[in-house]
Amino acid sequence: MKTILLSISALMISAAGVAAADDPIAVRKALMQATAASAATSGGMMKGDIAYNPAVAKAAIATLNAVSHAYGDFFPEGLSGENSTASPNIWEDTDAWQQALSKFQIDTQAAVEVSGKDGPADLASFQAVIGPVLSNCRSCHENFRVQTN
């Protein structure tokens, strides 16, 4: 039984590995979808559509933090095209791109610190740290995404 489980998990890891290597566009899209879902949860709580819950806030922050550290690895030189809205600026202005990735990481790190063990205690403290994190969406998409549909 243990062997089967181990081989299944090994299979899953290798499957993910193959997918990541073969299709970076699919991976970075999945990461952005996770980001959008976390932003939706965060936005819902800030708008009052969803009651504030520290554990949910913590989950959103943790997801955004994980994405911020992984995302930049899935933009091999020039990989854009029909299925992608990545702007050529990513490879033409690499310094600005690296700065944008790094700002996303710094802002999520600050949120993780406030989040602590149980998540931000109340909506106000959550808002104070998630606002700067979410502002990265706009600033990055302003320069590094092309609208295609």
Binding site: A39, A40, G43, R138, V146, Q147, T148
Partner: protein, 309 residues
């Protein structure tokens, strides 16, 4: 013999005279200007954000207070050539500090410079023509409170025949008028009318969101249906209530997007719209709600750009 030569010469001269006559730059009439009250800077600031002045006239990539330094310099690269946004800070030498209120109103509402030359419609006066003269006066008063910045921005780099400013007189005859794009019913709410004013006038949304004919005029039958980007990089989306547009968005979704930059599925604003949305966020909530009411009411249109783009 003489006759044979003279006729084409005379015809050419007549055509030249007609061209000269038709292409002159015409400002606002004195009556419109005389009815204006002294400008109010606070009201002018609201016009400033609605009009998005800073998105083209601040230095490229300016953030925070630097958005209020209207030094110019942004380059718009189009099929006609490269347009460079000028310095419109209140600097008397390099900006508009020496202008009169009438100079400013003529520039905004008629696309005419203080020297009587046509401006290129990269400066969206075809939309601003629908603005109240009072709003232009208020805006001028506000801009005069901003920091003067010295240094002129570069010149436009345009190819023939687009480098002949006089030719714009003909273009303006076709495309410049102050009539609203859509006719609203008698029963239209105040919010709807305000939304129409903001979208069709100062907000100049149609300048990017509506496709253009080969002569560079907006195709009003495809109003707000989306268009290939003028800078040749991707598309500008369809914002009519069509299936291919934003029919699934509620009015409050639209208002929230303009406030926060997030779409209903929490994708975020991007590209040139990011700066526009940042301006919209500075308007009172009632203005964003008015824009939303108008966008929900415009005729639905299929995408105004080819599927391959």
């Amino acid at each position: 013999m003489h006759r044979k030569i003279l006729t084409p010469v005379a015809a050419l001269a007549a055509a030249g005279a007609a061209f000269w006559f038709l292409t002159g730059a015409e400002g606002l009439d004195a009556q419109a200007l005389a009815s204006v009250e002294p400008g109010d800077a606070a009201r002018g600031e609201r016009v400033f954000w609605a009009g998005g002045c800073t998105s083209c006239h601040a230095r490229p990539q300016a953030q925070g207070d630097a958005k209020l330094e209207l030094a110019g310099g942004l380059e718009l690269t189009t099929d006609f050539g490269t347009f460079v946004a000028p310095n419109i800070s209140p600097d008397p030498d390099d900006g508009i500090g020496a202008w009169s209120e009438a100079d400013f109103a003529n520039a905004m509402l008629r696309g005419v410079s203080p020297e009587g030359a046509h401006y290129y419609p990269a400066f969206p006066y075809t939309s601003y023509a629908r603005m109240e003269t009072q709003d232009a006066a208020d805006l001028f008063t506000f801009i005069k409170t901003l920091p003067p910045v010295s240094g002129a921005a570069g010149e436009h780099q345009l190819s023939f025949p687009f480098n002949i400013r006089r030719g714009l007189g003909l273009w303006k005859m076709l495309y410049l008028n102050e009539e609203p794009v859509l006719a609203l019913g008698q029963d239209a709410s105040e919010a709807l009318r305000r939304g129409q004013y903001l979208v069709e006038g100062p907000g100049h949304c149609g300048e990017c969101h509506t496709p253009r004919s080969f002569t560079g005029g907006l195709e009003k039958g495809k109003w707000l249906a989306g268009a290939p980007s003028a800078e040749g990089n991707g598309i500008v989306p369809n914002i009519t209530p069509d299936e291919s547009g934003i029919d699934s968005w509620s009015a409050s979704d639209i208002a929230y997007y303009l406030e926060s930059g997030f779409t209903p599925d929490f994708d975020s604003v991007g590209g040139a719209m990011a700066a526009v949305q940042a301006n919209m966020a500075k308007l009172p909530a009632e203005d964003r709600e008015a824009i939303a009411a108008y966008l929900k009411s415009v005729p639905p249109r299929p995408n105004g750009y080819p599927a391959s783009q």
